[in-house]
Subunit: 259 residues, 2 copies
């Protein structure tokens, strides 16, 4: 059964034994693992070795540890919330979020004057370090409680002469409506990345161990394919997945693939 012998470091053998037990459903999702003391007894190793093995499984996202209680098998990561990243426009010309339900604002949106970074500047056709409007939101989904961080970046050149100059904290659908009223025919491109959260993101989004975040960057393009607005969305990958609808283009979009 749980005999230790073969490959690599001792703690890795222990980790492999526990991992196999989990994957063989000897410990089903939600079930508690044996305590450290029991694992020490079972595999005849020291406490540091057992803790090292547990740390390995934890960083794989296989188990979850609760101080004073024990280790538990994590349920298979099935994101409970599907965010449809399409944009819908009604016949009346109003834009709506395809995610149906309204999101609740945990705090009022905060507006800053910020500077572009190496990532956001080029996407807006600006240099690095240029100033623009930034609006941050912390939102929760009403039924699931899932939290998301949303940021809107509006260059001064986009806001000038529109209602955005006075209200850079407009909601995305309102921003789209304002830009449409300004005479733009809109389309969007969205880039999805995944990475481990920074400590402050872990706090704000309440993200557990070994859980990445999905980080999307949406660029709103206007007439002449000019980038107008940039939105960033960050959400725990444990709680949400993103869906896109794809149809065939007749012509390939000319776009360089960065080396």
């Amino acid at each position: 059964m749980g005999e230790i012998q073969r490959p690599g470091a001792l703690y890795q053998q222990v980790a492999a034994a526990i991992r196999d037990a989990i994957l063989n459903n000897e410990f089903p999702p939600g079930a508690p693992l044996p305590s450290e003391a029991q694992l020490i007894e079972r595999y005849q190793v020291s406490r540091p070795t057992v803790r090292n093995a547990i740390a390995a499984l934890r960083s794989e996202g296989l188990i979850e540890v609760q101080h004073g209680k024990g280790s538990f098998v994590r349920a298979a990561v099935e994101p409970g919330l599907t965010l449809e990243r399409n944009v819908t426009r009604t016949k009346a010309g109003r834009f709506t979020a395809t995610d149906g339900a309204q999101w609740d604002e945990v705090e009022p949106p905060t507006i800053h004057r910020i500077r572009t970074t190496a990532a956001t500047g080029p996407a807006l056709g600006l240099g690095e370090g240029d100033e623009l409007f930034g609006c941050d939101r912390l939102l929760t989904h009403p039924t699931t409680g899932t939290r998301v961080l949303h940021r809107t970046l509006i260059p001064y050149a986009t806001a000038d002469g529109t209602a955005l100059a006075k209200a850079p904290d407009a909601e995305p659908t309102a921003v789209y409506a304002i830009l449409t009223k300004a005479g733009h025919e809109l389309w969007w491109s969205e880039t999805v990345r995944a990475r481990m959260p920074l400590p402050d993101e872990r706090t704000a989004l309440d993200i557990p161990d070994a859980t990445p975040i999905l980080h999307t960057t949406r660029t709103t393009h206007g007439t002449d394919d000019q980038p107008l607005v940039l939105e960033e969305l960050r959400v725990s990958a444990d709680h949400a997945q993103l869906t896109y609808r794809i149809t065939t283009d007749k012509a390939p979009t000319a776009r360089r693939t960065r080396a």
Copy 2:
């Protein structure tokens, strides 16, 4: 400078001090951190405490440790490869991958008869545990060397009566062409998730510590919005990001958001 005092565990204070130093560019990307011995001296703590702090920074993806050499600040995660997840069709009716360059097959594609899971079954309109064709590919990008795992799932009902029955290992663009020839007007939906890799995925894709994978599921829909084929793509989030083009729908797509 690096004085330790305030909050939480000792090793967290050490980790915070090093993290701040990194973020303040005291240690720029690629630069080596002080050795364990130097950190012990600098912060006047024991070796386990230093190692614990280093482990924390490692799991944040901030640093990278090389046995026998030292710890190094990781470059900001800027995925070098952008995968455009659109589908292009030429006037001649041929489909092409929008990623331009051809991918190289590391190994010949392998065909299995596999069963649907709780995740893949419903997406294909099947139950859980139904049998179908599965074709696995391990690909590399010719210039960047980025590896991706690709899997095609073809239900028997889809393959029946088409060229897919004899060649379930056709490439995706060929699959689309075959289905189009069979009279389908195709569209696709794609779902993006992120999670930590399993040990075998880490091996196959050569994924370092604290690096999530992007896991996409693309469903090919035919006439009557019937799901025909499912493709899965797995790639290191360090090396790749995904982009989608979005245009406005006139009518909202009816789709339930799972609770």
